[in-house]
C-alpha cells in the first residue's frame, strides 16, 4: 500500500513537472518573469498536506526537470524554466524559497543564469554560481 501511494505521488509530481515545464516554456515567450512569478504567491502552502517531504519533492522535481528538459526537449538554456518549476513547487510546499537571476562575464560575453535559493543558499548548484553577479531576486 505504501509503495502504491508513493507510486501515485511520484506520478502526480511527474505529471505536474512535465506540464509546468511546457507551460513556463511558452509563458516566457510572451510574459516577463515578474509577471509569471507574482501570481504564484497565491499558491503558497497549497501542498503542505500533500505526501512527501519537501526535500524529497524538490529533489524529484530537480531530477525530472533535468531529464525532461535535457533528455526529451533538448533545451539549450534550461535554467530559468527549471528555476521557475522548482520555485513553484517550493512555494506550494510553503518553504522559504527565492528565485535569483545573475550574470557573469565569460570570454568577453555575458552569460545569464537562474537558480533558486533555499533560506539564502543556492539549491543544487555547483561552485560556479558564486561567480554570477546577482541582478534580481524574487521575492526581493
Amino acid at each position: 500500500m505504501v509503495k502504491l501511494q508513493n507510486g501515485i505521488a511520484d506520478l502526480f509530481i511527474a505529471t505536474f513537472v512535465t506540464l509546468r515545464i511546457l507551460y513556463y516554456r511558452n509563458a516566457l515567450k510572451c510574459r516577463s518573469v515578474e509577471d509569471i512569478i507574482l501570481p504564484l504567491k497565491e499558491k503558497r502552502g497549497s501542498w503542505r498536506k500533500r505526501k512527501g517531504s519537501t526535500c524529497d519533492v524538490l529533489n524529484k522535481t530537480h531530477i525530472l526537470c533535468r531529464k525532461i528538459q535535457l533528455g526529451l526537449l533538448r533545451a539549450k538554456r534550461p535554467c530559468l524554466v527549471r528555476a521557475l518549476v522548482l520555485y513553484e513547487v517550493g512555494l506550494r510546499k510553503g518553504i522559504d524559497i527565492q528565485i535569483v537571476i545573475g550574470v557573469k562575464k565569460n570570454n568577453n560575453k555575458l552569460d545569464g543564469h537562474a537558480w533558486i535559493e533555499l533560506a539564502g543558499l543556492p539549491y543544487r548548484e555547483n561552485e560556479s554560481v558564486k561567480h554570477y553577479t546577482e541582478m534580481i531576486r524574487y521575492p526581493n
Binding site: 550574470v103 562575464k105 546577482e134 541582478m135 534580481i136
Partner: protein, 87 residues
C-alpha cells in the same frame, strides 16, 4: 530637444569591468562599455542628446560629428528596447 529619462524598472549592475542593464519586464540583459556607462549616467531626466554629446566631447578626444552619430545610434537602441525614453 527632448530630455532623456531612464526606465525606472531597469536594473543596472557592475559585472567585472562593464555595466549590465537588465530589463525585468523582458528578461533581456545588455552589457555596455565605458562610454555607454558614461552616457547611461548622463541620462538623468534633465539632459538631452546635445548636452550628453557636449559632455562626452570634453572627456574623449573624438570628432564631434562622429560622436553625435554614435551617441544617437546608442540612444536609439536603448529607446527601442524600452531602457530609456524621451520626454
Amino acid at each position: 530637444m527632448k530630455r532623456l529619462i531612464k526606465n525606472p524598472e531597469i536594473i543596472c549592475k557592475d559585472v567585472d569591468d562593464e555595466k549590465v542593464l537588465l530589463n525585468p519586464q523582458t528578461g533581456e540583459y545588455y552589457g555596455i562599455n565605458e562610454v555607454g556607462a558614461e552616457i547611461w549616467t548622463m541620462v538623468n531626466g534633465e539632459n538631452d542628446i546635445s548636452v550628453i554629446v557636449q559632455n562626452l566631447v570634453r572627456i574623449y578626444e573624438v570628432d564631434r560629428q562622429t560622436l553625435e552619430a554614435d551617441v544617437a545610434e546608442f540612444l536609439s537602441a536603448l529607446i527601442e528596447r524600452n531602457i530609456i525614453k524621451e520626454e
